[in-house]
């Protein structure tokens, strides 16, 4: 190896080098693919969500229609609705944890390792880097959630058919699945924002998991009307109302729920963007 070997030849660039948003997004895609934690989280997500669905669909008790009664499975007389609720629940609960960890790691590890400085040296446009990172993290989270909720439904439907039930997928069912994916995107966006604000994996993760899992439990014990409204204002409650079309949601029904969830997303993204574009890296 000699210093002279570093001297480049003129024809090295196939394309004309130029910094674009699409190329930064491609770079972020290479980054998420090239760390083990991404694949490990995906495996955990798949095994957990599909495992819960399989177990419940296989072993939950139901009264057999052949015994002369209407088939009642998991509290629903319609097997399709029951399976839908089951698959949604399994995917949402695991997604809350997995997507939060995934997004927090993607942002936090760049800061803990200092890789953010390499990133910004190659791509010194902060707004584009923020956008590309957010897009790739939210997009991959959405894709994984969409595939897994569809797989959960398919596996569950196969099992229930074998048990003599006949689950049907309705347009309402598809809407619910779609909104579950929307919720996963919202979680990813909130975690990305928290990651950029805290600049730490642990900080981002603690903030978002506290918001999604701990605060709802705490606020459940606050008896007053204020407590009820505070609980309803949390992102997971709003998301649940949105996904299950809960018209009696405390803050403005279903559309109120959409607005509350969007508010959390905007808060996190605006905070993260302002921090990232203004602070020294």
């Amino acid at each position: 190896m000699t210093a002279a070997a570093v001297a480049p030849t003129a024809s090295v660039h196939v394309r004309k080098p130029r910094l674009t948003f699409a190329r930064i997004a491609k770079s972020e895609w290479i980054k998420v693919r090239s760390v083990r934690s991404t694949w490990l989280l995906l495996v955990i997500f798949a095994i957990s969500a599909l495992g819960i669905t399989t177990a419940m669909a296989s072993f939950a008790a139901f009264r057999n229609p052949e015994e002369g009664e209407a088939g009642v499975f998991m509290g629903e007389s319609d097997a399709g609705t029951a399976l839908l609720n089951l698959a949604t629940m399994a995917v949402v609960y695991i997604a809350m944890i997995v997507v939060t960890v995934y997004a927090s790691l993607a942002i936090g590890s760049e800061y803990s390792s200092g890789a953010i400085r390499s990133t910004l040296s190659a791509a010194p446009r902060r707004g584009s880097v923020f956008g590309a990172k957010t897009f790739v993290i939210a997009g991959t989270s959405a894709l994984a959630t969409a595939v897994l909720i569809a797989a959960a439904w398919a596996i569950g439907a196969g099992i229930l058919t074998g048990r003599g039930l006949n689950p049907a997928l309705t347009s309402d069912g598809l809407r619910q699945m779609g909104l579950t994916v929307v919720y996963a995107i919202a979680i990813a966006l909130i975690a990305v924002g928290a990651g950029f604000i805290t600049r730490s994996t642990a900080g981002g993760m603690a903030t978002v998991l506290g918001l999604l899992l701990v605060l709802p439990m705490v606020l459940n014990f606050v008896p007053s009307k204020v407590g009820a409204y505070a609980l309803a204002a949390l992102p997971d409650q709003a998301a649940a109302a949105m996904v299950s079309n809960k018209t009696d949601y405390l803050i403005g029904g279903v559309w109120g729920a959409v607005a509350v969830l969007a508010g959390w997303v905007v808060l996190a993204i605006v905070g993260g963007y302002a921090t990232f574009t203004r602070r020294d890296a």
């Binding site: 390792s113 890789a115 400085r117 390499s118 990133t119 446009r125």
Partner: protein, 309 residues
């Protein structure tokens, strides 16, 4: 070409960089020298757009880095060799960086070879030694075949072979007409690599000149003379322009008079001369005298100070 125009960075009450104005020209290796804490890294971070200047600006060919169409082809930087994700392979790190500017995979492989990382490129960087990290950082800096190369303490922690490699690399990059800007707190390193020096202390510019001028500017012509007649010589030559310091009974140091005049005087007076040595001050001494008042942390004990200098 890098231009610093009144570049200033304030952290709270402390001025890390204080109105730095300088031009770093292409075709030369420009050394950026100063004691630890003088503001070298902060200046380099501002050039790379990582820190926002409190006042002034740093531009590359007239524009800040963020306004360049393809930043990697303009500036390649190695600021901290460990700025990589520990769980990502060296190759994936380079591929991700190259992708932002649309630089080909072929170029990535070429840089892996040029920096001698073929054997470890697929390994996660947490398994890398400091020398491998340094090579990976240099591979990243040169990905875009940049016109300007910025290296912060590039030889820190390298073995002698690595030091030599970086030194040759800096020289060859400058010979190709690139702007090479490298920092160090060690004058000895600079004396072997740099053509031009920018010296700062406490964030302020102390010197901006060719390396030879800096040595010449700091040196007073001095000659050590050893003779059994040292006292006699001292008495004969001492004048208002010539100072004499006595080292021991037969050794004196004369400043303000050349070797030639001393030799002629010796012939005329028939003095016996054992030794006559011109003393040129080293770059190290020039540096010490320049930064003397600008050292941020001074060792309190004179014993320790002696040991360190």
């Amino acid at each position: 070409m890098i231009q610093l125009e009144g570049l200033t960075k304030r952290y709270g009450a402390k001025l890390a960089v204080d109105g730095l104005t300088a031009t770093i020209k292409p075709g030369l290796v420009t050394g950026f020298l100063g004691p630890n804490g003088a503001g070298k890294s902060t200046t380099m971070r501002m050039i790379m757009g990582l820190d926002r200047p409190t006042a002034g600006r740093a531009t590359i060919d007239g524009r800040p880095l963020s306004a360049q169409r393809a930043p990697l082809t303009k500036v390649g930087a190695l600021l901290d060799a460990k700025s990589v994700h520990p769980s990502r392979s060296g190759r994936a790190h380079l591929l991700a960086l190259a992708a932002t500017n649309g630089i080909s995979k072929r170029r990535v492989e070429q840089m892996i070879q040029a920096t001698g990382l073929e054997a470890v490129a697929s390994r996660r960087t947490k398994t890398y030694s400091l020398g491998m990290h340094q090579r990976l950082g240099i591979a990243a800096a040169l990905l875009g075949d940049p016109a300007v190369v910025v290296l912060d303490e590039p030889v820190n922690g390298l073995d002698p072979e690595g030091v030599l490699w970086v030194r040759r690399l800096a020289r060859s990059l400058a010979a190709e007409g690139r702007t090479v800007f490298l920092s160090s707190h060690l004058m000895s390193e600079m004396s072997q690599t740099a053509d031009h020096l920018i010296i700062i202390g406490r964030g302020r510019l102390l010197a901006d000149a060719p390396i030879d001028d800096i040595i010449a500017g700091a040196s007073e012509e001095a000659t050590r003379v050893r003779s059994p007649q040292a006292a006699q010589i001292a008495a004969a030559l001492a004048s208002h322009s010539v100072t004499v310091t006595t080292e021991d009974a037969e050794t004196i140091v004369l400043t303000g008079i050349g070797v030639k005049q001393i030799g002629e005087a010796a012939a005329t007076n028939g003095w016996v001369i054992y030794e006559m040595t011109p003393i040129t001050s080293s770059l190290e001494e020039a540096y010490m005298s320049l930064t003397d008042s600008a050292v941020e942390y001074r060792s309190a004990s004179p014993v320790l100070e002696g040991a360190l200098s």
